[in-house]
Amino acid sequence: MIALTGKNQSYVLVLYGLCFPLIHVAHAQFILKMAAVQGGMGDADIKTDIKTEPSADGFGNNNANDGRVLSASPGSSSSTGSNKQTAAVTPEDQQTLLAVLQFLKKNKLSESVEILRREAGLPENSLDPKANESAGAGSGGAAGIVDLEGGDASSLLSRVTGSSSAGAQAPTKGTFICGGKKDQPDVSVVLSAYSQQGDPTLYKVYYRDLKKFIETVLDCHRAELSQVFYPLFVHMYLELVYNNHESEAKAFFEKFSGDQECYYEEDLRILSGLTKKEHMRGNETLLDFRTSKFVLRISRDSYQLLKRHLQERQNNQIWNIIQEHLYIDIFDGMPRSKSQIDAMSGSLAGEAKREANKTKVYYGLLKEPEIELPLDDEDEEAENEEGKPKKKKPKKDSVGSKSKKQDPNAPSQNRIPLPELKDSDKLDKIMYMKEATKRIRLGPDNLPSVCFYTFLNAYQGLTAVDLTDDSSLIAGGFADSTVRVWSVTPKKLRKVKSAADLNLIDKESDDVLERIMDEKTASESKIMYGHSGPVYGISFSPDRNYLLSSSEDGTVRLWSLLTFTCLVAYKGHNYPVWDTQFSPYGYYFVSGGHDRVARLWATDHYQPLRIFSGHLADITCTRFHPNSNYVATGSSDRTIRLWDVLSGNCVRIFTGHKGPIHSLAFSPNGKFLASGATDGRVLLWDIGHGLMVGELKGHTDTIYSLRFSRDGEILASGSMDNTVRLWDAMKAFDDLETDDFTAATGHIHLQDNSQELLLGTYTTKSTPVIHLHFTRRNLLLAAGAFNP
């Protein structure tokens, strides 16, 4: 619940401090579920418990009613029930609190109950069923039409959680679990909001009326107000379906679905398949739509216009929907143009609220540890004795001075505890610096060479590819559950000797690392078995000792590249895990999957350290920020979120893609993010300002990989359409910096300069490009499976 007020957050924090200190306070429903697990009882138990308490029902309905009354008249304060003394707390939050209290009581956590009550300033009797009974009685009528099954089953808890989660997220997936049985109460509560009665035949009239009105308003307002069409359309359709007006719903759909923006086509298709009330139960898309408020940004003028119109016409039906299911983010200033709106819309839940992107993000890079470059290195070409020190000194200084300057936008060095550098890491850093000096400077006139790693005979089974940072190993995840690693250098892959043989080794010798390797096992590739489903995500650790793989079987596995065996299976997602990635500093990794939750793990913990919850649909890709303090996730809900690893909060929401996002890439300086989606577009984002800063059009199919060159001058994108395209990233970002930022409003004018920015298009014969990588010297490596 992003909209939680600061005060409220502290209430929940108490709870949170009690049980699970590491988990981000997403919202109460989540906490309750977790707590239920902690308390050793399943969700079902809670439900039955509460069901047996007859008074809870009335109480719950009462509160729900409160909410409705409130939303119908914005600004007025609560006047019903026994909750007057907490007017500062919004009713929904209070519901949440009450539910938490009740839960704690049930579990005999009386101390926590006391603390929470004191903190929240709730009266002693707030949980007393009798005190609420009278209040509940008045709204009994509403309860009658609420539920299909189990009459009074819309229990307090589920009702409360159902409405409290409206702000943001549906953290656990109900739809995939045994016919939605688990989430049934939730769903019915969610849906019951549609139970308002209205003349079904009038829906068309209402909608047409509004349409006419919007078409007649001034041009500058029309584009803005048109945003209302889609959410209204969907909610009205669902209301019709919910109330069993099947034929009216069909007619409504046919009449107006053509008016909707083309980028909603996918959702509309799903919607059109849904014609029965029974279907709504357990439909993810619908749940998402209902549980999240559709966010619109409308200028104050336009909003006033709309409001006046609806009030004049007494069009309560539509007004109610707008109040209940839409969140209108009103801003002062010029209304936005159609193109501006189109650029930002398209996600499942509308645009991001402006305040969602206001948090400060420390996007700067961490200071690199100072490592002395060895002066007398044998590898260096022989130089004359006098020239040597001269040449080396400035190099060393430049490295030092660079790192001494602390980036004002960088997080403090120990904001996130990072693993200490091992000797081997230092050696690798030195190697990296050496390689970096030989790096080719890329630019529009100096394009990189492209090498293609083709996977042959993969039989359509290659699902993920990764290359190590030094480009020495390539790994593939396959649909047959295997993970294969190839060495792309002449150095073969070797296992460590068996324990018995290791005993015989002279541990003091200098080349002990060489001696522990079993020469007999040397081979070009190794296969690792362990998963029981296709491997969708794969990632090498920076030190090349480990490999992560995430699979359909719901686990993330950590493999050792020394023994080529599985070390850990991280369980927690329970649903297909679509992607995983190591932190650039190792140790941490992030995973995201079908359960709509991204998790942050540390390799030595079998449980996640953070849970990032907020996406409304599957998380399709995950990326670490170069400074390891943030994690970006792309989702099928067509949004990108940036999460703070420290607090677990969502600090950025980027909307604008019109399809599921399948690739993300941070620029090397940490300032920008590029994202690619099934819509074939690459969008560029300024992380600091939380703005879209560019759109790169050209690909004709899903973009599965994005990568910036080592210096950040060039962005390479690889797609299902069998091409690699290179874009002038420098120019894309430069243009922007000269442009004066409309940061306050967040409204951007994107110029359509994709063609100018496109530097090259490289086609393969018949190989979709699913991975890209720049070597340390800026040679572009691409990989994919040949699909004859």
Binding site: N283, L447, W486, E519, S525, P534
Partner: protein, 625 residues
Amino acid sequence: MTERRFAEVSRESVRLMAEGAGVELGDDVAALLAEDVCYRLREATQSSSQFMRHAKRRKLTVEDFNRALRWSNVEAICGYGAQDALPFRSVKEGELFFVEDRDVNLVELALATNIPKGCAETMVRVNVSYLDGKGNLEPQGTVPTAVQSLSDDLLKYYQQITRAILGEDPHLMKVALLDLQSNSKIAALLPYFVYVISGVKSVSHDLEQLNRLMHMVKSLVQNPYLYLGSYVRSLVSSVMYCILEPLAASINPLNDHWTLRDYAALLLSHIFWTHGDLVSGLYHQILLSLQKVLSDPVRPLCSHYGAVVGLHALGWKAVERVLFPHLPAYWANLQAVLDDYSVSNAQVKADGHKVYGAILVAVERLLKMKALSLSQSAEGQSGAHPGSVVGAVSYRVNSPGLSPPPEPLSEAALGIASHLQVGGAGCHWEEWTPVPLPAMYCELYSFFGDSLAVRFSTGTGFGTHSPCTPSQLGDSRKEPPGPASNLDTTRKMPQLTANLNISPRQDGSPRTDPPPPSLSGPGSRSRSSSSCSRQRSAGLSREVFPKARFTSPQTTPPAFSFLIGGRQMGQRCQGRRPFQTMFATTPPVSAIPPRTYAHKLPVIGRVGKPVRRWTCSHYSLHLPL
């Protein structure tokens, strides 16, 4: 019904299916069900597309759909997992559509002679597509898959090659084999060649053809562009056939099937060292089958011969592991054959001599290598005695078992050790414990007597386990020492000669290295010697292993001595164990009865004829090409 947005299941279909299940449905119920089924299908399709997208495919497969079903707790549909599209047929009369599902005749399938198209291994290939962002340098290479149907060129090539190799013209054969060895574009033909080679069983009467097929194996194995993968197993079994089977060709004593076996044995070891990592457990399987043949008295002597040379080719550890423990039991049988002087037995006896010679060569090397490995491990101790440092150093240089890689055999020797310890495929292997060298020598001496060219002194010097050089008269007579004479004798028992030369103070002659398992004898020989010298020059003061590998000899006092003489047959037949324990409990085995058998076979051991033949046959490998 206005416009159909989706494919729909009609209520008639639902009713038909219900009838099929024995349920009568009303119209309204069927309609409701039909609509629901449609909806559920659409839902499943939508979620299945997610699996397709994440698998980075464009084609939705049955597997994707099944995954969607499984995750929504619906039973998956089995039997449609094939990648190819299923043929969909309709019957006009009944307006029936169905997926064709033909009966499969399993018998026919099992007995089919055509090779099923295999799945080629997944691999990664790299090519520079664009240089400096400009131009396509080379088109993406063709894809070598076995699944691909063969192009005409390949087919023609295949026919030409097989015809040339199996044909009459030796020159043509040579050219064909050379090409097979170096051609980079024949991956697709590999299964076909392997199939041809598996035809050894059908030509077991034709020695010449067998030889040619073995050469074909060699060429395939040496081709650096071929990835043999699981075909290694097939090749190995063909080679093993030539080593072990009583070939029809061997009925005629004039046929030199011995050479074939020798060659096949070397080939086997070559395949194993170079491609053994492709098939796990291969080593064990080979050893087991060799052991099986060796321990089967019913098998003809030529099979036994094959087993022995096979073991020999696999390295001294294999000999120690399999041949040595079986020797006592086997000796009895062999003895019986050799002792029969009747005319009818002449041929068998000749074969017996062959086997005897092979065994002798094998155990000679076993002794020598074991001594070397011991001297290697003894080095750890000797480091403490400054006096023996020099000797230890020179030994380490020569010990192929423990020095780091460059030479193929050395890594192989390590590999065996680890293999055996880890693997343990059969229960046979579990109980195996290495016999200490003195005991081994003692036992072998009881069989072979002076025929053994390797000599160990019985004095205190033995305590450090260095093979000493009291070059006995007989030996020096037989093998004039010195490099010059060695050259003359071509590599006639090179290991014996070299061993005689070893002394702690001499620098290790490269000759001590056993013949490497590579088929190109001379080349690798020079390589190994150069590697030796390189090592020597690199300075060698580092101790590889501080601890000895075989510690027991060190702990027992150097009280070991033996009498010249063999032991009673009956006692020998009890096997190794009692002997061993006896040795352990009463260290000085003083009560060894006088040697009898070695005396009886003076010719075989002394003259070294079998050995000469062995070396000849070894040498003959290099003739054809």
